[in-house]
Structure formats: C-alpha cells, structure tokens
Amino acid sequence: MGRALQPGLMTAPPFIDARGITKRYGPITALDDVSFELRPGEVHALLGHNGAGKSTLVKILSGLVRPVSGTLTMAGEEVTLRTPQQAQQHGVALVDQELSLVPALTVEENILLGNVESPFLQRPGGSRAATREILDGLGLRHVAPSTHVRDLAIGERQLIEIARALSRDARVLILDEPTATLSDTEIEHVFRAVRQVVAQGRSVIYVSHRLGEVLELCDRASIFRDGRHVETRAVSELDRRGLIELMLGDVPEPSQRDGLHEDAGEVATVTIRNLSVPPRVQGFDLTARGGQIIALAGQIGSGASEVLRALAGLVPDAQGDVSINGKDVRLGSPRRCVDAGTVYASGDRKGEGLFLGHSVQLNLVATRLPALTRWGLVRRGAAASVARQLIDVIGMDRKRMRTPVVSLSGGNQQKVFLGRCLEQHAAELLLLEEPTRGVDVGGRMEIHDLVRVAAAHGNAVIFASTELDEVLDLADTIVTMHAGRVVRTLPRRLATSAEILGDMTHGNSESRAGVAA
C-alpha cells in the first residue's frame, strides 16, 4: 500500500538528523533520548498516542521549544533553533496542530505572516496571483484572498495554514494532524500537495492518528510511545494491524468492567435531545443515568468538548432540550446549569479550572461557598471540615491543605480540581473534559478511580477525551464523535481499540478504504 520508495531515497544523506533529544515539562518527560532522521524527498510519518512525544519533537524541530539535551543537524550542519524564525531560515515550515492563524487578518495576510523572506515593502494584493495558485491547488477556489480568516470554517482554516507552509518553499514541511478537521475531498487536496512537495526533492514530516492516511501517503514511519522512539520502518513493510500493534505496544486490552455499579440511593437521570452548539455540533442526543460513565471520544474539532461546554452553560448560543432528574434546563448560563445539577471540569485546568495562587483548601471549597456561608460569613469550621473530607477523598496529604495549588504537580493539581467538582450535591451530572490531560500514569489511575467512585455514588459522568487508552479504560459507554456529529454509540464491552480509533479519526469506517478496521 505504501508508496514505492524513490530510487536513492534510502542512501541519500539525511536532511535532518536529531540525536539523543530529551525534553521535560516539569516532572513529565515528554521526550526521552529520541533520535530521528529525515531524508530528502520522503514523507515521514510520526505515529503514537497523545502524549507519545510526537508533538514535542515537532515543536523542537520548528524552534518553538528547546530540548534539554541532544543535538540537531540540518543539511550536515549542527544547529540550535531558538526561535521559529531560525527554524524557518534553516528551511523548516510547520503546520501546527493548534492553528497559528490570526483571525483578524485576511487569508492573504495570514499566508505572508511571519515569512522571513517576505519583503519589507508590500503591495496589498501584490502576491495575489501566487496566493491564488496555492489556494486553488488546495481546492480553495471559492475563498478570496481578501477574506478574513475569522469568516472561514474550521476545515478551510486548516487548509490556509497548510497554504502558508507551502508558500514558504521550505525544504521540510511539517504537518501536525493536518486532516483532523477536514473532509474527504479536502484531504485529497492535501495529499496532492504533499506529493508535489516530495516530487521536488523536499521532505514532509506527517503527524497523524489516521493509519489509512499514513499507509497511503508515507514512505517511512517512526513510532513513538510514552516519549520514547519505538521504531522506524518503511511503510511498505507494514500494514494496519502492524502499525496498531506498534502504537499500542504490548499493553493488554484494559479489563472490561461491568457497566452497572452498586446503587447508592438517589440516581441521576439525564436526557439530552437535539443539542446544537454553533458552529460545529448539531443534533446531539444522549441519555445518561447515574452510575454510568460515558465517553465522548473524538479528536480536537470533533465537537466533544463543545458538547460539554454547552451543557455547562458556557456557550450562549447552544440550544437543545436538556433535562436533569426530570427538570428541564435552559442552557446558556453557568449559574442555571449549576443550579440544575451539572458540574463541569474544563480541560484547560490552569486557564479555566484552578485558582492557582490560592491554597488547596480554598480551591476545594471554591464552588460551595454559598452552602458554607451564614449571614454572609464563611463558616470556617464547616469549610475546613468539607475541605478535609475532600482531600481525603482525593487521597492527598492533609498537610498540603494550605499549600498554594501552583506548587503541586500536574497530577495533584488535577486531583484538587476534580475534588472540587465531586460530591457537590447528590445525583448530578459530572462533565469532565480531558480528565487526565498532562497527568502521568500513576496519577491517571488514581483519577480514574475517583471518577468511578463518583459514578458509583449515583452521579452520571460524561467525559470528553482524545485519548484512546483513557476512553477504553474509563468508560462503560462510548460515543464516538467526528466533525460535530456522533459516529456511533456502543457499550465498552463491544468496542475494540481499532474500531474506536477508526471512528475518532475518520468518522465513518466504511467511507474510506484503508482506515483502521
């Protein structure tokens, strides 16, 4: 299935040669002594789960982060990349997973933005012909270069991001999950562009979860797991099965649990009908019962997080019939949703979750001050005892009660955050977005146990995750989502990792040959 290797590809000296690269973020080692080489004229896939280290390697190669140790050679010359501009000067162009477009600028301005070779003097519309050509090549015939990026759909934005990288005539084009938000036709355009690039002897690094794309497009694949480089193989030697095995490693399929929990009195019932969250999600239906843990499994842009935010009242435009314990909830205001019994834990723990500078205690009781207040005064004894209960629930040392949250590890921060969300009142709807993002393996298991206990107490849990392992490990019902729609809903015991991965990365396993089946 893989492309026939070009003659001389295997013998040409590598354009990028990275040796012994290590990068740590706080206590987490994102890359551990990784080596990687990229030859001219090849499409090189980087494969692995979220957190495997692909994106970190990409960021190092494009000058966005600096490794702790290791050497980087480009075109035979040892280089240190301090800034994106320096990477650009060495011929690297990046299409970041998080888009780096400025919505307030036009398409043309965004394509020129940050190009170190862009001349000082510019004529508005001066590079319109060249821009037009690149846009047409990507199937963006209908997009005028003078359109503002904020007016484009998410898939179109992704293509503009790719157009910018193409416009730079780089020797190495890095595409980090370029197709997560694209339709089939749009993907074909991207493929054609990539093939053109390598036909000119330039190279492409292709990061993707989508195995079908890798098999179809790439020459070689490097597989990463837990920050380590597992193996680099010619794609022609591999098939889907083999790739999945390399990605998953020899981790056994997580034990399958019974969907039902012991009942603990009151049980939440949640029905969601016809939920729409502009601009992406439409017609979302779901029923959840206390004791149930439901995963919304999907990549960034699938709509899973948006559903949770809407249910938390954080999207003013969201509409739908939602009822919790028989009571209808009008969305659009966090206050109303909290009163109705929802508790939301954002995936952006630092930005939208914790009050970093404040103590563990204050963070734990932050959302329940009204209940702990008499005559406007916070009852200190009551607050302290609630905090003590919660810190015991999350299994942290009581001595840490007064520590500012900012000084805790990522795992402990997440536990404090979830602790705040637990046991607010009985029988509620817990909405957890990426519950273990940035948490190491040990912390992850503890957090999963917390969630299970919460469910066992009669809460309904809906969590959104982009991580396959987490979905399989924690959920008893899995709802796969893609491009704003539910692909399918199935009980955990009927799900296989390959199926879920296929749904998450491509929406529909039948529509496209070559997707993991």
Binding site: V102, L105, S333
Partner: protein, 351 residues
C-alpha cells in the same frame, strides 16, 4: 454551509465596520455646518482651522495610543510623554527650537524603548507598567519645570508653526497630517502594518507563524512615545508655554478618538486613517462646543458620555451578554421558540 453562501453579508458587515468612522465624521461635518445656524451662529473656515489645530496636538496622541491598542496593549503613559515632550522642548529649545524638538523626540524614543522592553521581554501587563511610567514622566516634567508653567521666549517659532496654510491648515497641523499619511502608508504597504495587527489579534499564533513579536512590541511602544513627545513639543512651541501637568483631558480625547476610529481593545484591528477620522470628528465636536458657547460642564458630560458609549459598543462580551439576557428574559416562550420544532420543548419557566 460553504462559505460562498455567507460571503456577501460578511462583506457588508466588514464594509460597515471599516467605513463607520468616516460616516461618523461625515455626520459630524453636517452637524458642524447645520447646528450653529440653528442657534443663529455660523461655522467659519477659521473654525475648521481651529479644529485642525486641536487635531494637530491630540490627534498625534490618539495615533500613539491607537497603535499600541492595535498591537493589543495600552499605553497609559502617552499623556506623561506629551507633557514631558512639551516641557523638554521649552526648557532645552530656548536657543534652537529644533534642538529642543530633537531632545524631546530622543527622550520619547528612550522612554518608549525602556517601557516596550519591559513589557515585551517580561510579558507583563502594559497597564501597570505604563501607569508607573506615566507617574514617573509626570514627576520628571514637574521637576524639570520647577513645579510651574514655563514660558517659551521665542514667540516667532509658535507664530510660524501656526500661520495659516491653505485656509484650514498650519505648519503644525500639516506635520500631524504628514505623520498620519506616513503611518497609513507604512501600515498598508509594508510588512509592519500586518505584523502589528497580527500581534494584537493573536500573540501566540503570530509567534508560531514567525513574527518577531518582541521586536515589534518594543518598536510600537517606542513609536508611541516619540509621537506623544512630538505632539507635546509642537503644542508647547505653539502656545509658547509648557504646563507641569497636562491633566487627563488629552488621554480622554485620545481614547475616545481611537475607539471612534474602530480600534478595539481586544487588538488586531484598526487603521491610522480611521483613527484620524475619529480624532478629526472629536476636534470638530470640541470646536462646535465653543461655537455654540456650550458650558464646560455640558461638554464634559458629553465627552464622558461619549467615551462610556463607545466603550460599551467596543466591549468584548456585549453580544454574549445580550444573548444571555435575551434567553433569560424570554422565559418559556423564547426558549420554546429557540428549540424550534421539537415537541419536547416545554419549559417550566421557574425563574
């Protein structure tokens, strides 16, 4: 749901947004001509000249502040530099006005570079930094001026700066117009305009895309201070005096003009020409007050009200707030309507 179908209303909205400052200016011009006649007075060409004189001083301060706002920051120290610029020009330019002007501009450059470096390199909020900067400059101005107004002996400098050119301009207002033209051209025809709007629109994305963010920020703050110093020096020569504390009026003018010019506090949007339109609109308004003999407190009320009004219109959460209010106020009917045809849409409306 392709973008083709939606393109036209977007274009229209965009056009409305970018042309609003000029429409407001046009309305102002009509009012400037009509309103005095209603009360038996008349707006003369000299009144227009006066407006442009006001524009010459405060328009530049507006441009200075506006550039930092387009870049997503806020330079509170513009008034401080405006004051220091005028004091330096008066105190050091006694022998040669050009020397005084040069010293004022150099001081502006230095102040801007220091503030910009602190803000860019330390990634620190520009409000407290420039507030500190403002106090410092204010103190420096008063110290240099011995806590008192200082007069400039060479009156001929002022009269030649203010002599009428082409009926409505003076040398001073032509300098301001020239600066606006240069900045407009630079914003349109060089990389700089795009980069400034980019770092205001999305700092992280700009950095990833390869924009030299820190250098741009430092440059914007340097330019802001230089422009403020220029405005201060020119007005000082014109009035042949410099005060130890210009007060907050220039800042109020500048903010209102910038917001009238369509620059948002979120950054990433705005053009020098539109800021000029905003500043001219305000200058005309102030001149209109004096033609009509409006009491100061009325003009103060109108100026303050105008500032609050444009701030409300430019507020980032206005739309969102309105939507929330609408759903809340709507009660059962609105929410039933909002979920459309769904038969299950019965809401108890307990609130």
């Amino acid at each position: 749901m392709s973008s083709v179908a939606l393109k036209d209303p977007r274009r229209t909205r965009e056009l409305a947004r970018t042309s609003a400052p000029f429409l407001i200016l046009a309305l102002m011009l009509v009012a400037f001509y009509v309103l005095p006649q209603l009360s038996g007075r008349e707006a003369t060409v000299f009144n227009v000249f006066n407006s442009m004189q006001n524009f010459a001083a405060l328009g530049l301060v507006a441009l200075a502040l506006g550039l930092t706002m387009i870049a997503g920051e806020f330079d509170l120290s513009v008034v401080g530099m405006y004051g220091l610029g005028s004091m330096l020009a008066v105190m050091t330019g006694k022998d040669s006005a050009l020397l005084g002007l040069g010293i004022a501009l150099l001081a502006g450059l230095f102040v801007g570079l220091v503030q910009g470096t602190i803000i860019a390199k330390l990634r620190i909020n520009s409000m407290p930094v420039t507030l500190g900067g403002y106090l410092l400059l204010l103190g420096l101005t008063a110290t240099i001026g011995h806590d008192d107004s200082q007069s400039y002996p060479n009156l001929s400098v002022g009269s030649s700066l203010d002599s009428v050119v082409a009926q409505i301009f003076s040398l001073r207002s032509l300098v301001a117009v020239g600066v606006f033209v240069v900045v407009t051209l630079a914003m349109r025809y060089t990389r700089l305009g795009r980069d400034i709007r980019a770092i205001g629109g999305d700092r992280r994305a700009s950095r990833t895309a390869g924009v030299p963010v820190d250098r741009m920020l430092i440059g914007v703050f340097a330019l802001s201070s230089v422009l403020s110093a220029l405005a201060g020096a020119l007005i000082a020569y014109s009035l042949a005096t410099a005060t130890p504390d210009p007060g907050l009026a220039p800042l109020i003018f500048a903010i209102t003009a910038v917001l009238l010019g369509g620059v948002t506090l979120a950054g990433g949007q705005g053009a020098a020409l539109a800021i000029a339109a905003g500043a001219i609109t305000l200058s005309l308004l102030q001149e209109l007050f004096s033609i009509l003999g409006t009491p100061t407190y009325v003009s103060s009320l109108i100026t303050g009200g105008l500032l609050v009004l444009v701030t409300i219109i430019a507020a980032p959460d206005l739309k969102q707030w309105w939507r929330t209010v609408r759903t809340r106020r709507g009660g059962p009917t609105a929410s039933a309507a909002s979920v459309g045809s769904s038969p299950a849409a019965t809401v108890t409306g307990e609130r």
